[in-house]
Symmetry: none
Subunit: 218 residues, 4 copies
Amino acid sequence: MSNSEWINDLINDHDAPTMSDKQRKILEAAIDTFSEKGFAASSTSEIAKKAGVAEGTIFRHFKTKKELLLAIVTPTVAKFVAPFFIKSFAKEVFESEYEHYEDFIRVIAKNRLEFVRKQFPVLKIFIQEIAFHDELREPFQKLFTEHVYQKFKKIIEHFQEKGEIVSLPPETIMRMTASSIIGYILPRFLLFSDKEWNDEKEIDQIVSFIMYGLTGKR
Amino acid sequence: MSNSEWINDLINDHDAPTMSDKQRKILEAAIDTFSEKGFAASSTSEIAKKAGVAEGTIFRHFKTKKELLLAIVTPTVAKFVAPFFIKSFAKEVFESEYEHYEDFIRVIAKNRLEFVRKQFPVLKIFIQEIAFHDELREPFQKLFTEHVYQKFKKIIEHFQEKGEIVSLPPETIMRMTASSIIGYILPRFLLFSDKEWNDEKEIDQIVSFIMYGLTGKR
Amino acid sequence: MSNSEWINDLINDHDAPTMSDKQRKILEAAIDTFSEKGFAASSTSEIAKKAGVAEGTIFRHFKTKKELLLAIVTPTVAKFVAPFFIKSFAKEVFESEYEHYEDFIRVIAKNRLEFVRKQFPVLKIFIQEIAFHDELREPFQKLFTEHVYQKFKKIIEHFQEKGEIVSLPPETIMRMTASSIIGYILPRFLLFSDKEWNDEKEIDQIVSFIMYGLTGKR
Amino acid sequence: MSNSEWINDLINDHDAPTMSDKQRKILEAAIDTFSEKGFAASSTSEIAKKAGVAEGTIFRHFKTKKELLLAIVTPTVAKFVAPFFIKSFAKEVFESEYEHYEDFIRVIAKNRLEFVRKQFPVLKIFIQEIAFHDELREPFQKLFTEHVYQKFKKIIEHFQEKGEIVSLPPETIMRMTASSIIGYILPRFLLFSDKEWNDEKEIDQIVSFIMYGLTGKR
DNA sequence: GATGAATGAGCATTCATTCAT
DNA sequence: CATGAATGAATGCTCATTCAT
């Protein structure tokens, strides 16, 4: 199985097979509403109206409003970090065609951008609410530190040993890499989603920036 | 007037001279509460209690809850972008000791970090709420596009002409610069504020990253 | 047929032969719940869960929640007063071995205590709810005034004619007799059901009290 | 100070001086409603309507519906047992004109009957709800066992030593005394409050019954 | 007959805001 | 200027009951 395959696999929506029609409608309406007004400013009555169900129906499927939030956010966040979750992730990277750090982050970036494009409303909710709900922050922090961070770290160390990238602490490398990519994605979808974007080209530029900075000496 | 002077000038709290004791207490309590729970999830009665005033007193000073939000956020945001607001800003940069883009962003970064340290709760509120309130977003967008962006653009073009930085669109350069810095500041205060940070050194690393990337070929 | 026989007959559970398994489980669960939390504070969904049936099943067997209450309370109350209901009741008493009022109330007391022991939860529900439901109070009042009261009255008059008890109005005699007995039974089950009780002895004391008061001059 | 004086003193409504007009109206409406339909079946909106206030006003004065219940019931129950609460209670009894147990319970009975007449709705609520609320039962049990029971016990022992009443356990004597009186009061107000009652005469009969039973040998 | 999803009225409680004092 | 009682709409959630399967 080639890299592109297993990555794509994780992205596809193979979940929610047990979800009823109403349940899906409620989730959609809730995503809409939370995303637009924020969790605390959204009322369950509005969500019910938008979903075309009675208010009581929401609470038959989700015990509380907060549980509805978690039902929206958890699977998407899980899928977002899923590629890093795979056991063989780091190994695959080393043995793969990704000869350079550059290639690696380019693939990750393009692939995760695709995911963000599809799931932006949910990710927006996540970003907004993670600051206020322990039930959201704690599992995510665990997920991140125990899996994403560990795997990413090994990969960085691998390329540092190859002498390809500087010897800063891996978390610093990670932060720089991540914030450069996120610094594109966030405004792209949050502030200027109506603008036309050539994502392919932008990502190439960002990757280039990550590797060589702004001086252009490459 | 040297650069350091006018910058410091803008930071100092020369405002709020007309504010009564109660008013200040209300603002402090509101910052606390909004920052901790978010605007929508904070109740005016809780703020009143925390401020040690009667519920009605808040509405004597701020017509609505939203006006209270604006009263908190507006002056701080204004001060945050103030350096770019000054007419002579760009000119000063060109003629100043900042021979290199590197020096320029280093000063900006350190200086704005200082500001963020002091004002983080307010800026957190701003970041959280800008997505939901037109009254917040519109003036800020105007401020940004008409002043900050324009000035920053000129500066970038200046250094591009000097051949110091690559010929990407100025907004791309800006985004890369900004997100590298913000990508340090945000986690630093939002997620790991209890950790000990050597900000001076971190910023030097970030500036170096912005200029030369991760390859270390410099 | 001796007295003890017909009395025992009425107590035995010869009813509910047409009741399905589910129906019985629902009734049991409802008795549990109503008794513990009161009728109004009990929810049908909780009862359904406790009974191990679907929410809808309750309403297949009992049109409304109130009908469920009546189905619980009515047969038990009927059985409680049943001894007084029997046509030959008074006559049997006169011709029976009960030479004295004392013997009569002793048998009734012991016998009804036995019944209360078995059915306390249901009787508790009855006592709690009779004040609030006309559907409960009216048939009971009718039952009581037309049967229990009439029969009891004749018995009291019988013993008054024999000069065995004072010539107060029969209802006063009845009230004194009843409240002395009930004044034992109620706290015994309601407040101190965990304490060990020697019911036999207690009833003897109560009967003695009813007959001779507290002076002990007998 | 004669006995009748200190007893009357305790009965009079010297409380609630700090209660606002609205607060009193809410309490009255709540007593009405709770008494008529029971606590759980009463809605705060109905109480608000009956009291002529907004629903929110109820919750400004009483944090929860249950607190409203306690605010109604606690002071009345306290006043009901107040006579037994007084330090000198037992001593006064011994040295007083109450030469006989009979006189003592006659005064108590008449006096408490008067109280019940005025406060019946509240006492009805208490009786109904004590079974379901620990917050109600626990303080009352404490009050009763630590004060009422102790004092009453001493008085009973006093008259037992005088050879005036039988040597049953004091709590049995108490139960018999109390249930005879309560057995009059409860039906009198609960079931037949519309009937005309000669309370004076009835109580004399009850006291006589308590002392001498139904045989009339006195 | 039994289920349990669906309903929408109703619930206790909270809210931002007003206004008489 | 400050208060805090009063408001009534709105909130998240529960309820008894219905009905298609």
